[in-house]
Symmetry: C2
Subunit: 250 residues, 2 copies
């Protein structure tokens, strides 16, 4: 069933209002008629089965039929910290990472990040990333929209890593841990704090960054003998962590 | 270290010749000079450390320094059978699936496949897919190039499925197995026959297809509660199977 996220102030006691692009999608793409059923969620606390009541020019009025459990969220929070990749690769990471079940994305800049910053463009880019997360969450039947943070500096990312329950640093080193060992040493995965997966840019992390991350408590892990592209590594790690946690059919 | 696949007749006893796009890449992109080291493989039996000896206009002569074990291949063969998706999504599946470690891709048509066939375009498309697999294998440090089959019919795909050791049919059904249970019931993963992951098109499989697949021995499996796009499902399944088999850091 089609699902839409609305802001909490558009999800009232017994009705909801779908606006903007979602209203366009519901009316023009899905060709909704009064009586059609959809799922509506505020992405925070409530998810409801609802029925289309009235189609207006730019929004759609829904009647709430019943509250439903927010069942689309995984039992473990996986956050993907991704050093800004070239082109539209971060869009791939956010779209597919949302399908897989990541709950937050933290873009950051590191020594070998080649993407140029532009404060004006920055706000637009983050807005676009958040839209991609929302649309992917709707399509994947998530109950919440993953959080897309503003791009941050390496030092800020490390501060976030220190607050995570487990910060996994994707880095090929001789004595790096296997992902599974790092996860099992962390104890039961479900219900704890977030597990942060930290992925470098196309050129990888510098040795200095790897050493600093390890000093700050990050655990270097390997994802096997094949070399994954920057936009693939976080997705694979997230899928394997969720599989290990009993999600993804695991 | 940069790696190139050459056909077996270009990998001789003590030298190798890199031709075509790879020669262009080595000379123009990597700006190779005599003495530079690369890895060269025939993708079948041999992998060697080699040194650039001479740069010609359209090919590069290498001297073989030592034979190396073909270490980039996973211990279990994962094949991805993908109902032809729209646009360039199959390219994503082949590129990322190669990085993850799939050893074959089997594009097929099923009832809800919307891609139109065109015999003339078909050969070009398959050629392009094979080029993507080769380049991804080089970048990911694979020892072999995954096999990309010609697009096949549903009935042909089912015949391949019957020869697989385990054919997993990605389909959401009430009494479907969890991926992990299906894998563990199949016994030790390493070294056996191929594990085939069968993924439907954007609109999914029909009930008739699901019933037929099950009659022919395919095992319906679920990948969790979130809905994965067609181009994401096979990649996630491959990553989880390889993780379960002790690859991908598992």
């Amino acid at each position: 069933m089609q699902r839409y996220f609305v802001t909490p102030d558009n999800l009232l006691e017994d009705k909801a209002i779908v606006r903007g692009d979602d209203a366009h999608h519901l009316m023009r793409v899905m060709r909704a008629q009064p009586g059609d059923k959809v799922v509506v969620s505020d992405g925070v606390r409530r998810e409801c089965l609802a029925e289309v009541v009235e189609l207006y020019k730019e929004n759609v009025l829904l009647k709430l039929l019943e509250e439903r459990p927010m069942s689309g969220e995984p039992s473990v929070d996986v956050w993907i910290a991704q050093s800004l990749p070239k082109g539209d690769k971060l869009e791939t990471v956010i779209q597919k990472g949302t399908e897989i079940g990541a709950t937050a994305f933290l873009p950051f800049a590191s020594a070998r990040t080649v993407v140029q910053y532009d404060a004006k463009k920055e706000a637009k880019r983050v807005e676009r990333w958040r839209k991609i997360a929302k649309e992917a969450a709707e399509q994947a039947h998530r109950s919440k929209v993953p959080d897309v943070r503003d791009a941050m500096r390496w030092s800020e990312m490390l501060r976030v890593a220190e607050t995570a329950r487990l910060a996994l640093f994707c880095y090929e080193k001789e004595d790096g841990k296997r992902l599974r060992d790092a996860l099992r040493e962390a104890g039961p995965l479900a219900g704890g704090g977030p597990i942060l997966v930290i992925v470098g840019p196309e050129g990888g992390f510098t040795e200095e960054e790897a050493a600093e991350a390890e000093r700050r408590g990050c655990v270097p892990v390997g994802l096997g003998r094949r070399i994954l592209r920057t936009e693939t590594a976080g997705l694979v790690a997230a899928a394997c962590i969720l599989y290990e946690a009993g999600e993804m059919g695991g």
